[in-house]
Amino acid sequence: MPKLDSLSILIFVRSWGIVILAALLWGAFSIWGLPIYGTFTNFSVILQGIAISTIFAAAIAMGVFSGVLDLSVPGTAALSSVILAQTLLSGWPIWAAFVAAIVVSVAVGLVNSFFSLRGINPLAVTIGTLSVTSGVAALITTGPPLFGFQDLGFISTNLYWGIPAMFYVAAAVFVVGTIFLTQTRGGARFLAAGGNAEALRRSGVNANLYKILGFVLSAGLAGVAGIVTAAYTTQGNPAAPTDSLFTGLTAVALSGISLAGGRGSLPKVLVGSLVIGEITSILNIKNIQPYWGVVITGALLIGALYLEMGIQKQVSKRVVEAKNAERQQSAAAEAAATQQKGA
Protein backbone atom coordinates (compact mmCIF):
# COMPACT_ATOMS: atom_id res chain seq x y z
CA MET A 1 0.00 0.00 0.00
CA PRO A 2 1.52 3.35 -1.00
CA LYS A 3 1.72 6.39 1.25
CA LEU A 4 0.57 4.46 4.28
CA ASP A 5 2.89 6.62 6.33
CA SER A 6 1.25 9.94 5.49
CA LEU A 7 -2.08 8.22 6.09
CA SER A 8 -0.94 7.22 9.57
CA ILE A 9 0.19 10.80 10.22
CA LEU A 10 -3.20 12.17 9.22
CA ILE A 11 -4.98 9.69 11.44
CA PHE A 12 -2.60 10.54 14.27
CA VAL A 13 -3.37 14.25 13.85
CA ARG A 14 -7.09 13.54 13.86
CA SER A 15 -6.78 11.36 16.96
CA TRP A 16 -4.36 13.42 19.02
CA GLY A 17 -4.43 16.92 17.50
CA ILE A 18 -6.64 18.33 20.26
CA VAL A 19 -4.38 17.03 23.04
CA ILE A 20 -1.34 18.50 21.32
CA LEU A 21 -3.18 21.81 20.85
CA ALA A 22 -4.14 21.95 24.53
CA ALA A 23 -0.54 21.32 25.61
CA LEU A 24 0.89 23.85 23.13
CA LEU A 25 -1.59 26.52 24.25
CA TRP A 26 -0.75 25.83 27.90
CA GLY A 27 2.95 26.27 27.20
CA ALA A 28 2.54 29.38 25.03
CA PHE A 29 0.05 31.08 27.36
CA SER A 30 2.22 30.28 30.40
CA ILE A 31 4.99 32.34 28.83
CA TRP A 32 2.72 35.09 27.51
CA GLY A 33 0.75 35.27 30.75
CA LEU A 34 3.72 35.26 33.15
CA PRO A 35 3.66 35.10 36.12
CA ILE A 36 -0.03 34.26 36.69
CA TYR A 37 -1.10 31.89 33.94
CA GLY A 38 1.04 28.82 34.55
CA THR A 39 0.23 28.44 38.26
CA PHE A 40 -1.81 25.73 39.96
CA THR A 41 -4.21 28.38 41.27
CA ASN A 42 -4.95 29.51 37.73
CA PHE A 43 -5.34 25.89 36.62
CA SER A 44 -7.90 25.41 39.39
CA VAL A 45 -9.68 28.59 38.23
CA ILE A 46 -9.74 27.26 34.67
CA LEU A 47 -11.17 23.93 35.86
CA GLN A 48 -13.88 25.75 37.80
CA GLY A 49 -14.58 27.90 34.77
CA ILE A 50 -15.02 24.95 32.42
CA ALA A 51 -16.77 22.53 34.82
CA ILE A 52 -20.31 23.53 33.87
CA SER A 53 -19.61 24.07 30.18
CA THR A 54 -17.95 20.64 30.15
CA ILE A 55 -21.11 18.95 31.43
CA PHE A 56 -23.04 20.83 28.75
CA ALA A 57 -20.48 19.62 26.21
CA ALA A 58 -21.01 16.03 27.39
CA ALA A 59 -24.78 16.45 26.94
CA ILE A 60 -24.34 17.74 23.40
CA ALA A 61 -21.68 15.12 22.66
CA MET A 62 -24.03 12.25 23.59
CA GLY A 63 -26.56 13.64 21.13
CA VAL A 64 -23.94 14.08 18.40
CA PHE A 65 -22.54 10.56 18.93
CA SER A 66 -26.02 9.17 18.33
CA GLY A 67 -26.37 11.31 15.20
CA VAL A 68 -28.57 14.08 16.59
CA LEU A 69 -27.85 17.72 17.42
CA ASP A 70 -30.02 18.28 20.50
CA LEU A 71 -30.81 22.01 20.59
CA SER A 72 -33.08 21.68 23.62
CA VAL A 73 -30.13 21.17 26.00
CA PRO A 74 -30.08 24.78 27.37
CA GLY A 75 -33.85 24.79 27.89
CA THR A 76 -33.78 21.42 29.64
CA ALA A 77 -30.97 22.69 31.91
CA ALA A 78 -32.93 25.84 32.78
CA LEU A 79 -36.02 23.78 33.57
CA SER A 80 -33.92 21.41 35.68
CA SER A 81 -32.41 24.24 37.73
CA VAL A 82 -35.83 25.83 38.29
CA ILE A 83 -37.35 22.49 39.34
CA LEU A 84 -34.44 22.02 41.77
CA ALA A 85 -34.89 25.51 43.25
CA GLN A 86 -38.67 25.23 43.48
CA THR A 87 -38.66 21.81 45.16
CA LEU A 88 -35.95 22.86 47.63
CA LEU A 89 -37.91 26.01 48.50
CA SER A 90 -40.98 23.81 49.06
CA GLY A 91 -38.97 21.93 51.68
CA TRP A 92 -38.07 18.77 49.76
CA PRO A 93 -34.88 17.00 50.90
CA ILE A 94 -31.90 17.64 48.65
CA TRP A 95 -31.80 14.13 47.18
CA ALA A 96 -35.50 14.28 46.27
CA ALA A 97 -34.99 17.65 44.59
CA PHE A 98 -32.11 16.18 42.55
CA VAL A 99 -34.25 13.22 41.53
CA ALA A 100 -37.15 15.51 40.53
CA ALA A 101 -34.86 17.67 38.35
CA ILE A 102 -33.36 14.62 36.60
CA VAL A 103 -36.73 12.91 36.08
CA VAL A 104 -38.17 16.03 34.43
CA SER A 105 -35.05 16.31 32.20
CA VAL A 106 -35.27 12.67 31.13
CA ALA A 107 -38.95 13.22 30.32
CA VAL A 108 -37.92 16.03 27.94
CA GLY A 109 -35.54 13.57 26.26
CA LEU A 110 -38.33 11.03 25.86
CA VAL A 111 -40.58 13.67 24.26
CA ASN A 112 -37.75 14.61 21.86
CA SER A 113 -37.21 10.98 20.86
CA PHE A 114 -40.95 10.29 20.51
CA PHE A 115 -41.42 12.94 17.82
CA SER A 116 -38.02 12.48 16.17
CA LEU A 117 -38.52 8.73 15.72
CA ARG A 118 -41.88 9.43 14.11
CA GLY A 119 -40.05 11.28 11.38
CA ILE A 120 -40.02 14.95 12.35
CA ASN A 121 -36.59 16.54 11.88
CA PRO A 122 -34.87 16.35 15.31
CA LEU A 123 -33.57 19.91 14.87
CA ALA A 124 -37.15 21.17 14.64
CA VAL A 125 -38.33 18.98 17.51
CA THR A 126 -35.54 20.09 19.84
CA ILE A 127 -35.96 23.77 18.93
CA GLY A 128 -39.61 23.29 19.85
CA THR A 129 -38.80 21.72 23.19
CA LEU A 130 -36.11 24.39 23.82
CA SER A 131 -38.88 26.95 23.60
CA VAL A 132 -41.37 24.90 25.61
CA THR A 133 -38.94 24.05 28.44
CA SER A 134 -37.68 27.60 28.94
CA GLY A 135 -41.29 28.84 28.77
CA VAL A 136 -42.41 26.34 31.40
CA ALA A 137 -39.40 27.25 33.58
CA ALA A 138 -40.41 30.94 33.42
CA LEU A 139 -44.03 30.05 34.21
CA ILE A 140 -42.89 28.19 37.35
CA THR A 141 -40.86 31.15 38.63
CA THR A 142 -43.30 33.71 37.18
CA GLY A 143 -40.31 35.30 35.46
CA PRO A 144 -37.38 36.19 37.73
CA PRO A 145 -34.89 33.64 39.13
CA LEU A 146 -35.68 31.78 42.36
CA PHE A 147 -33.37 32.55 45.29
CA GLY A 148 -32.97 31.52 48.88
CA PHE A 149 -32.59 27.74 48.91
CA GLN A 150 -29.92 26.08 51.01
CA ASP A 151 -26.22 26.11 50.13
CA LEU A 152 -25.19 23.43 47.62
CA GLY A 153 -21.45 24.15 47.78
CA PHE A 154 -20.66 20.44 48.09
CA ILE A 155 -21.37 20.04 44.37
CA SER A 156 -20.18 23.46 43.24
CA THR A 157 -17.64 25.77 44.88
CA ASN A 158 -16.26 23.80 47.87
CA LEU A 159 -12.62 22.97 47.29
CA TYR A 160 -11.32 19.41 47.67
CA TRP A 161 -7.56 19.06 47.23
CA GLY A 162 -7.55 22.55 45.78
CA ILE A 163 -10.02 21.76 43.02
CA PRO A 164 -13.67 22.91 43.13
CA ALA A 165 -16.33 20.24 43.68
CA MET A 166 -18.12 20.93 40.42
CA PHE A 167 -15.10 19.79 38.49
CA TYR A 168 -15.34 16.42 40.23
CA VAL A 169 -18.98 16.23 39.13
CA ALA A 170 -17.88 16.90 35.56
CA ALA A 171 -15.08 14.35 35.88
CA ALA A 172 -17.52 11.74 37.20
CA VAL A 173 -19.81 12.35 34.21
CA PHE A 174 -16.88 11.82 31.86
CA VAL A 175 -15.51 8.73 33.59
CA VAL A 176 -18.88 6.98 33.75
CA GLY A 177 -19.74 8.07 30.20
CA THR A 178 -16.41 6.88 28.82
CA ILE A 179 -16.68 3.50 30.52
CA PHE A 180 -20.20 3.15 29.12
CA LEU A 181 -19.15 4.05 25.56
CA THR A 182 -15.95 2.04 25.36
CA GLN A 183 -16.46 -0.95 27.65
CA THR A 184 -20.10 -1.97 27.53
CA ARG A 185 -22.40 -3.66 25.06
CA GLY A 186 -24.89 -0.82 25.43
CA GLY A 187 -22.21 1.72 24.51
CA ALA A 188 -21.07 -0.22 21.45
CA ARG A 189 -24.63 -0.54 20.19
CA PHE A 190 -25.32 3.11 21.02
CA LEU A 191 -22.41 4.19 18.79
CA ALA A 192 -23.46 1.68 16.11
CA ALA A 193 -26.97 3.14 16.11
CA GLY A 194 -25.46 6.57 15.51
CA GLY A 195 -23.16 5.34 12.75
CA ASN A 196 -25.39 2.94 10.84
CA ALA A 197 -28.72 2.09 12.45
CA GLU A 198 -29.55 -0.20 9.51
CA ALA A 199 -26.59 -2.45 10.32
CA LEU A 200 -27.84 -2.77 13.88
CA ARG A 201 -31.39 -3.48 12.71
CA ARG A 202 -30.22 -6.21 10.34
CA SER A 203 -28.35 -7.78 13.23
CA GLY A 204 -31.67 -8.21 14.99
CA VAL A 205 -31.13 -5.41 17.53
CA ASN A 206 -33.85 -2.86 18.28
CA ALA A 207 -31.99 0.18 16.92
CA ASN A 208 -34.73 2.62 17.94
CA LEU A 209 -34.10 1.80 21.59
CA TYR A 210 -30.56 3.15 21.23
CA LYS A 211 -31.79 6.21 19.32
CA ILE A 212 -34.08 6.95 22.27
CA LEU A 213 -31.13 6.42 24.62
CA GLY A 214 -29.26 9.21 22.78
CA PHE A 215 -32.01 11.72 23.48
CA VAL A 216 -32.39 10.54 27.07
CA LEU A 217 -28.64 10.73 27.85
CA SER A 218 -28.41 14.17 26.27
CA ALA A 219 -31.38 15.48 28.25
CA GLY A 220 -30.31 13.75 31.48
CA LEU A 221 -26.85 15.32 31.31
CA ALA A 222 -28.48 18.69 30.52
CA GLY A 223 -30.39 18.13 33.77
CA VAL A 224 -27.14 17.53 35.65
CA ALA A 225 -25.69 20.71 34.12
CA GLY A 226 -28.80 22.59 35.29
CA ILE A 227 -28.42 21.30 38.83
CA VAL A 228 -24.74 22.29 39.04
CA THR A 229 -25.53 25.70 37.52
CA ALA A 230 -28.20 26.28 40.18
CA ALA A 231 -25.80 25.19 42.92
CA TYR A 232 -23.02 27.45 41.62
CA THR A 233 -25.14 30.56 41.04
CA THR A 234 -27.38 29.85 44.09
CA GLN A 235 -30.43 30.52 41.98
CA GLY A 236 -32.89 28.74 39.71
CA ASN A 237 -32.77 30.84 36.55
CA PRO A 238 -35.45 30.20 33.88
CA ALA A 239 -33.37 31.93 31.17
CA ALA A 240 -31.94 29.19 28.92
CA PRO A 241 -28.11 29.52 28.76
CA THR A 242 -27.94 29.27 24.96
CA ASP A 243 -24.23 30.13 24.85
CA SER A 244 -23.64 26.73 26.48
CA LEU A 245 -24.86 25.24 23.20
CA PHE A 246 -22.11 27.01 21.26
CA THR A 247 -19.22 26.28 23.60
CA GLY A 248 -20.44 22.70 24.02
CA LEU A 249 -20.68 22.15 20.28
CA THR A 250 -17.27 23.75 19.79
CA ALA A 251 -15.73 21.40 22.35
CA VAL A 252 -17.27 18.44 20.48
CA ALA A 253 -16.00 19.72 17.12
CA LEU A 254 -12.53 20.29 18.62
CA SER A 255 -12.44 16.63 19.66
CA GLY A 256 -11.96 15.86 15.98
CA ILE A 257 -15.18 14.22 14.85
CA SER A 258 -17.63 15.09 12.13
CA LEU A 259 -21.10 15.78 13.49
CA ALA A 260 -22.52 12.87 11.48
CA GLY A 261 -22.69 10.50 14.43
CA GLY A 262 -21.40 7.05 15.25
CA ARG A 263 -18.00 8.08 16.53
CA GLY A 264 -16.49 10.17 19.25
CA SER A 265 -14.59 10.07 22.50
CA LEU A 266 -15.66 11.85 25.68
CA PRO A 267 -12.12 12.41 27.05
CA LYS A 268 -11.30 14.36 23.89
CA VAL A 269 -14.43 16.46 24.35
CA LEU A 270 -13.11 17.24 27.83
CA VAL A 271 -9.80 18.37 26.31
CA GLY A 272 -11.79 20.43 23.78
CA SER A 273 -13.50 22.18 26.71
CA LEU A 274 -10.11 22.72 28.31
CA VAL A 275 -8.83 24.48 25.16
CA ILE A 276 -11.76 26.89 25.29
CA GLY A 277 -11.11 27.40 29.02
CA GLU A 278 -7.43 28.15 28.38
CA ILE A 279 -8.33 30.79 25.80
CA THR A 280 -10.90 32.42 28.11
CA SER A 281 -8.34 32.49 30.92
CA ILE A 282 -5.57 34.15 28.90
CA LEU A 283 -8.05 36.79 27.68
CA ASN A 284 -8.88 37.51 31.33
CA ILE A 285 -5.29 37.66 32.45
CA LYS A 286 -4.16 39.88 29.57
CA ASN A 287 -7.23 42.06 30.18
CA ILE A 288 -8.51 41.61 26.64
CA GLN A 289 -12.20 42.24 25.95
CA PRO A 290 -14.11 39.00 26.68
CA TYR A 291 -16.07 39.45 23.44
CA TRP A 292 -12.98 38.13 21.70
CA GLY A 293 -13.69 34.85 23.46
CA VAL A 294 -17.08 34.67 21.77
CA VAL A 295 -15.52 35.45 18.40
CA ILE A 296 -12.79 32.84 18.90
CA THR A 297 -15.26 30.14 19.98
CA GLY A 298 -17.24 30.57 16.77
CA ALA A 299 -14.11 30.60 14.64
CA LEU A 300 -12.80 27.48 16.41
CA LEU A 301 -16.08 25.65 15.74
CA ILE A 302 -15.94 26.25 12.01
CA GLY A 303 -12.16 25.81 11.82
CA ALA A 304 -12.23 22.46 13.66
CA LEU A 305 -15.00 21.09 11.44
CA TYR A 306 -13.23 22.34 8.31
CA LEU A 307 -10.00 20.67 9.37
CA GLU A 308 -11.80 17.42 10.18
CA MET A 309 -13.48 17.48 6.75
CA GLY A 310 -10.13 18.02 5.06
CA ILE A 311 -8.51 15.16 6.95
CA GLN A 312 -11.47 12.86 6.23
CA LYS A 313 -11.20 13.65 2.50
CA GLN A 314 -7.48 12.97 2.51
CA VAL A 315 -7.99 9.69 4.35
CA SER A 316 -10.68 8.56 1.90
CA LYS A 317 -8.48 9.57 -1.01
CA ARG A 318 -5.59 7.52 0.34
CA VAL A 319 -7.81 4.51 0.94
CA VAL A 320 -9.19 4.76 -2.61
CA GLU A 321 -5.65 5.00 -3.97
CA ALA A 322 -4.72 1.87 -2.05
CA LYS A 323 -7.82 0.15 -3.42
CA ASN A 324 -6.97 1.15 -6.99
CA ALA A 325 -3.49 -0.25 -6.59
CA GLU A 326 -5.07 -3.44 -5.29
CA ARG A 327 -7.37 -3.55 -8.32
CA GLN A 328 -4.47 -3.03 -10.73
CA GLN A 329 -2.67 -5.94 -9.11
CA SER A 330 -5.85 -7.96 -9.50
CA ALA A 331 -6.12 -7.09 -13.18
CA ALA A 332 -2.54 -8.22 -13.65
CA ALA A 333 -3.28 -11.45 -11.83
CA GLU A 334 -6.39 -12.01 -13.96
CA ALA A 335 -4.39 -11.45 -17.17
CA ALA A 336 -1.77 -13.90 -15.97
CA ALA A 337 -4.46 -16.47 -15.14
CA THR A 338 -6.04 -16.18 -18.61
CA GLN A 339 -2.64 -16.46 -20.26
CA GLN A 340 -1.93 -19.62 -18.35
CA LYS A 341 -5.26 -21.06 -19.44
CA GLY A 342 -4.44 -20.18 -23.05
CA ALA A 343 -1.03 -21.84 -22.83
Binding site: Q183, T184, R185, G186, A188, R189, L191, A192, G195, N196, E198, A199, L200, R201, R202, S203, G204, V205, G262, R263, V315, V319, A322, K323, E326, R327, Q329, S330, A331, A333, E334, A337
Partner: protein, 261 residues
Amino acid sequence: MANEQEFALSLEGINLYYGFVRALTDINLSVRPGECIALLGDNGAGKSTLLKVISGAHRPSHGVIKVHGKPVEFHSPKDSANAGIEMVYQDLALVDAQDTATNLLLGKEILRPGLLGLLGFLDRKAMKEEAKREVAQLGVKIDTLTRPVEMLSGGQRQGVALARSAVRVAKKSQGILLLDEPTAALGYEQKMMVEQMIKRMIANNIAVVLVTHDLPLAFATADRMVVLNRSRKVADVATKDTNNDHIVGWITGARASMENM
Protein backbone atom coordinates in the same frame (compact mmCIF):
# COMPACT_ATOMS: atom_id res chain seq x y z
CA MET B 1 -44.42 -34.05 -3.21
CA ALA B 2 -43.08 -36.83 -1.04
CA ASN B 3 -39.62 -35.33 -1.02
CA GLU B 4 -40.77 -31.83 -0.11
CA GLN B 5 -38.99 -32.11 3.22
CA GLU B 6 -35.72 -32.26 1.36
CA PHE B 7 -35.95 -28.65 0.27
CA ALA B 8 -34.42 -26.03 2.53
CA LEU B 9 -36.50 -23.39 0.79
CA SER B 10 -39.32 -23.63 -1.69
CA LEU B 11 -41.47 -20.97 -3.30
CA GLU B 12 -44.81 -21.88 -4.85
CA GLY B 13 -46.70 -19.60 -7.20
CA ILE B 14 -45.21 -16.34 -5.91
CA ASN B 15 -46.83 -13.24 -7.39
CA LEU B 16 -46.12 -9.66 -6.49
CA TYR B 17 -47.88 -6.58 -7.82
CA TYR B 18 -46.93 -2.97 -7.33
CA GLY B 19 -50.26 -1.40 -8.20
CA PHE B 20 -50.84 -2.54 -11.78
CA VAL B 21 -47.22 -3.52 -12.32
CA ARG B 22 -46.41 -7.21 -12.02
CA ALA B 23 -43.00 -7.52 -10.44
CA LEU B 24 -43.17 -11.30 -10.07
CA THR B 25 -45.41 -13.74 -11.93
CA ASP B 26 -46.02 -17.31 -10.74
CA ILE B 27 -42.51 -18.00 -9.52
CA ASN B 28 -41.78 -21.56 -8.41
CA LEU B 29 -38.36 -22.22 -6.98
CA SER B 30 -36.71 -24.68 -4.64
CA VAL B 31 -33.28 -25.06 -3.10
CA ARG B 32 -31.85 -28.09 -1.26
CA PRO B 33 -29.43 -27.87 1.64
CA GLY B 34 -25.91 -27.74 0.26
CA GLU B 35 -27.15 -26.52 -3.10
CA CYS B 36 -26.47 -23.17 -4.71
CA ILE B 37 -28.79 -21.67 -7.27
CA ALA B 38 -27.83 -18.65 -9.29
CA LEU B 39 -30.68 -16.23 -9.87
CA LEU B 40 -29.93 -14.47 -13.13
CA GLY B 41 -31.64 -11.87 -15.25
CA ASP B 42 -31.43 -8.41 -16.71
CA ASN B 43 -32.00 -5.28 -14.63
CA GLY B 44 -35.66 -5.09 -13.69
CA ALA B 45 -36.30 -8.79 -14.36
CA GLY B 46 -37.33 -9.28 -10.73
CA LYS B 47 -34.26 -10.90 -9.15
CA SER B 48 -33.84 -8.42 -6.36
CA THR B 49 -37.58 -8.29 -5.74
CA LEU B 50 -37.66 -12.06 -5.37
CA LEU B 51 -34.77 -11.89 -2.94
CA LYS B 52 -36.64 -9.27 -0.92
CA VAL B 53 -39.68 -11.57 -0.79
CA ILE B 54 -37.53 -14.40 0.56
CA SER B 55 -35.81 -12.14 3.09
CA GLY B 56 -39.11 -10.78 4.36
CA ALA B 57 -38.66 -7.19 3.18
CA HIS B 58 -41.61 -7.55 0.77
CA ARG B 59 -44.75 -9.64 1.20
CA PRO B 60 -45.93 -11.53 -1.90
CA SER B 61 -49.42 -10.73 -3.22
CA HIS B 62 -50.04 -14.46 -3.71
CA GLY B 63 -48.07 -17.61 -3.16
CA VAL B 64 -46.50 -19.74 -0.47
CA ILE B 65 -42.99 -19.75 0.98
CA LYS B 66 -41.88 -22.96 2.68
CA VAL B 67 -38.80 -23.40 4.84
CA HIS B 68 -37.87 -27.05 5.30
CA GLY B 69 -41.35 -28.01 4.13
CA LYS B 70 -43.23 -25.75 6.55
CA PRO B 71 -45.25 -22.82 5.19
CA VAL B 72 -44.04 -19.55 6.70
CA GLU B 73 -45.21 -15.95 6.61
CA PHE B 74 -42.69 -13.16 6.92
CA HIS B 75 -43.78 -9.76 8.19
CA SER B 76 -40.25 -8.38 8.50
CA PRO B 77 -36.62 -9.35 7.85
CA LYS B 78 -36.45 -10.39 11.49
CA ASP B 79 -39.03 -13.14 10.88
CA SER B 80 -37.00 -14.58 8.04
CA ALA B 81 -33.83 -14.36 10.13
CA ASN B 82 -35.60 -16.33 12.86
CA ALA B 83 -36.46 -18.98 10.25
CA GLY B 84 -32.74 -19.35 9.48
CA ILE B 85 -32.49 -17.09 6.43
CA GLU B 86 -29.63 -14.59 6.29
CA MET B 87 -29.13 -12.02 3.58
CA VAL B 88 -25.99 -10.17 2.52
CA TYR B 89 -27.16 -6.87 1.05
CA GLN B 90 -25.50 -5.03 -1.78
CA ASP B 91 -25.03 -2.04 0.50
CA LEU B 92 -23.05 -3.82 3.12
CA ALA B 93 -24.50 -2.12 6.21
CA LEU B 94 -21.29 -2.02 8.19
CA VAL B 95 -20.65 0.37 11.06
CA ASP B 96 -17.76 2.28 9.48
CA ALA B 97 -16.21 3.71 12.61
CA GLN B 98 -15.98 0.36 14.40
CA ASP B 99 -13.59 -2.52 13.96
CA THR B 100 -14.09 -5.91 12.31
CA ALA B 101 -14.71 -7.79 15.54
CA THR B 102 -17.45 -5.38 16.64
CA ASN B 103 -19.06 -5.51 13.20
CA LEU B 104 -18.95 -9.31 13.00
CA LEU B 105 -20.43 -9.76 16.45
CA LEU B 106 -22.99 -6.95 16.32
CA GLY B 107 -26.10 -8.10 18.15
CA LYS B 108 -24.33 -11.13 19.70
CA GLU B 109 -21.51 -9.47 21.58
CA ILE B 110 -19.57 -11.51 24.13
CA LEU B 111 -19.83 -10.27 27.72
CA ARG B 112 -17.34 -10.70 30.53
CA PRO B 113 -18.01 -13.41 33.05
CA GLY B 114 -19.38 -12.55 36.49
CA LEU B 115 -20.70 -9.27 37.81
CA LEU B 116 -19.13 -7.10 35.08
CA GLY B 117 -20.94 -9.22 32.50
CA LEU B 118 -24.25 -8.64 34.23
CA LEU B 119 -23.52 -4.91 34.00
CA GLY B 120 -23.04 -5.32 30.25
CA PHE B 121 -19.25 -5.10 30.10
CA LEU B 122 -17.77 -6.44 26.86
CA ASP B 123 -15.08 -9.08 26.75
CA ARG B 124 -13.08 -7.40 23.96
CA LYS B 125 -10.36 -10.04 24.02
CA ALA B 126 -12.80 -12.92 23.61
CA MET B 127 -14.59 -11.00 20.85
CA LYS B 128 -11.33 -10.53 18.99
CA GLU B 129 -10.49 -14.23 19.35
CA GLU B 130 -13.96 -15.24 18.15
CA ALA B 131 -13.79 -12.87 15.19
CA LYS B 132 -10.34 -14.17 14.28
CA ARG B 133 -11.60 -17.75 14.37
CA GLU B 134 -14.67 -16.99 12.26
CA VAL B 135 -12.74 -15.01 9.69
CA ALA B 136 -10.10 -17.73 9.40
CA GLN B 137 -12.78 -20.38 8.98
CA LEU B 138 -14.14 -18.52 5.97
CA GLY B 139 -10.73 -17.93 4.50
CA VAL B 140 -11.01 -14.14 4.46
CA LYS B 141 -7.81 -12.14 4.63
CA ILE B 142 -8.16 -9.05 6.82
CA ASP B 143 -5.04 -7.12 7.83
CA THR B 144 -6.02 -6.18 11.33
CA LEU B 145 -9.22 -6.97 13.15
CA THR B 146 -8.85 -3.85 15.29
CA ARG B 147 -8.89 -1.41 12.39
CA PRO B 148 -12.15 0.49 11.72
CA VAL B 149 -13.82 -1.14 8.71
CA GLU B 150 -13.85 2.22 6.87
CA MET B 151 -10.11 1.69 6.48
CA LEU B 152 -10.50 -1.68 4.75
CA SER B 153 -10.51 -2.26 0.99
CA GLY B 154 -13.71 -3.12 -0.89
CA GLY B 155 -12.93 -6.82 -0.97
CA GLN B 156 -12.23 -6.96 2.74
CA ARG B 157 -15.41 -5.05 3.54
CA GLN B 158 -17.33 -7.52 1.42
CA GLY B 159 -15.56 -10.27 3.32
CA VAL B 160 -16.65 -8.83 6.68
CA ALA B 161 -20.28 -8.48 5.54
CA LEU B 162 -20.32 -11.97 4.07
CA ALA B 163 -18.66 -13.42 7.14
CA ARG B 164 -21.20 -11.77 9.41
CA SER B 165 -24.12 -13.44 7.64
CA ALA B 166 -22.24 -16.67 7.02
CA VAL B 167 -21.43 -17.09 10.68
CA ARG B 168 -25.04 -16.59 11.66
CA VAL B 169 -26.25 -19.05 9.04
CA ALA B 170 -23.64 -21.64 9.99
CA LYS B 171 -24.78 -21.52 13.63
CA LYS B 172 -28.25 -22.67 12.61
CA SER B 173 -28.60 -26.32 11.69
CA GLN B 174 -29.88 -25.87 8.15
CA GLY B 175 -29.46 -22.27 7.16
CA ILE B 176 -30.28 -20.44 3.97
CA LEU B 177 -28.00 -17.70 2.67
CA LEU B 178 -29.12 -15.02 0.23
CA LEU B 179 -26.43 -13.08 -1.61
CA ASP B 180 -27.20 -9.90 -3.56
CA GLU B 181 -24.43 -9.14 -6.09
CA PRO B 182 -21.58 -10.15 -3.79
CA THR B 183 -18.88 -9.40 -6.39
CA ALA B 184 -20.12 -6.07 -7.71
CA ALA B 185 -17.21 -3.59 -7.73
CA LEU B 186 -14.60 -6.15 -6.67
CA GLY B 187 -11.22 -6.92 -8.21
CA TYR B 188 -10.20 -10.34 -9.53
CA GLU B 189 -8.55 -11.63 -6.36
CA GLN B 190 -11.41 -10.51 -4.18
CA LYS B 191 -13.84 -12.22 -6.55
CA MET B 192 -11.87 -15.43 -6.15
CA MET B 193 -12.05 -15.00 -2.38
CA VAL B 194 -15.83 -14.55 -2.46
CA GLU B 195 -16.11 -17.59 -4.75
CA GLN B 196 -14.15 -19.67 -2.26
CA MET B 197 -16.36 -18.48 0.58
CA ILE B 198 -19.52 -19.44 -1.29
CA LYS B 199 -18.07 -22.90 -2.00
CA ARG B 200 -17.29 -23.35 1.67
CA MET B 201 -20.84 -22.42 2.62
CA ILE B 202 -22.19 -25.01 0.17
CA ALA B 203 -19.82 -27.63 1.54
CA ASN B 204 -21.20 -26.85 5.01
CA ASN B 205 -24.65 -27.92 3.76
CA ILE B 206 -26.07 -24.42 3.54
CA ALA B 207 -28.60 -23.56 0.85
CA VAL B 208 -27.42 -20.56 -1.16
CA VAL B 209 -29.41 -18.26 -3.43
CA LEU B 210 -27.02 -16.08 -5.42
CA VAL B 211 -28.26 -13.04 -7.33
CA THR B 212 -25.59 -11.88 -9.73
CA HIS B 213 -24.67 -10.41 -13.09
CA ASP B 214 -21.34 -12.20 -12.88
CA LEU B 215 -21.81 -15.28 -15.10
CA PRO B 216 -18.35 -16.76 -14.45
CA LEU B 217 -19.10 -16.65 -10.72
CA ALA B 218 -22.49 -18.29 -11.32
CA PHE B 219 -20.92 -21.09 -13.39
CA ALA B 220 -18.19 -21.59 -10.80
CA THR B 221 -20.48 -21.92 -7.80
CA ALA B 222 -24.07 -22.74 -8.75
CA ASP B 223 -25.58 -26.20 -9.16
CA ARG B 224 -28.55 -24.76 -10.98
CA MET B 225 -29.26 -21.64 -13.00
CA VAL B 226 -32.59 -19.87 -12.70
CA VAL B 227 -33.23 -17.07 -15.17
CA LEU B 228 -35.92 -14.42 -14.74
CA ASN B 229 -37.16 -12.29 -17.60
CA ARG B 230 -39.75 -9.57 -17.15
CA SER B 231 -41.10 -10.96 -13.87
CA ARG B 232 -41.33 -14.59 -15.09
CA LYS B 233 -39.07 -17.55 -14.65
CA VAL B 234 -37.86 -18.51 -18.13
CA ALA B 235 -35.27 -21.13 -17.26
CA ASP B 236 -34.40 -23.49 -14.42
CA VAL B 237 -31.64 -25.79 -15.49
CA ALA B 238 -28.74 -27.75 -14.01
CA THR B 239 -25.47 -25.92 -14.60
CA LYS B 240 -23.93 -28.96 -16.30
CA ASP B 241 -26.79 -29.08 -18.85
CA THR B 242 -26.40 -25.54 -20.10
CA ASN B 243 -23.81 -23.09 -21.36
CA ASN B 244 -23.05 -19.42 -21.47
CA ASP B 245 -24.82 -18.78 -24.79
CA HIS B 246 -28.06 -20.39 -23.62
CA ILE B 247 -28.06 -18.41 -20.39
CA VAL B 248 -27.38 -15.13 -22.21
CA GLY B 249 -30.20 -16.02 -24.62
CA TRP B 250 -32.63 -16.48 -21.75
CA ILE B 251 -31.48 -13.31 -20.00
CA THR B 252 -31.93 -11.17 -23.13
CA GLY B 253 -35.12 -12.97 -24.17
CA ALA B 254 -33.62 -14.20 -27.45
CA ARG B 255 -34.17 -17.81 -26.37
CA ALA B 256 -37.65 -19.21 -25.81
CA SER B 257 -38.73 -19.86 -22.24
CA MET B 258 -38.21 -23.40 -20.93
CA GLU B 259 -41.38 -23.17 -18.92
CA ASN B 260 -43.64 -23.09 -21.97
CA MET B 261 -41.97 -26.06 -23.59
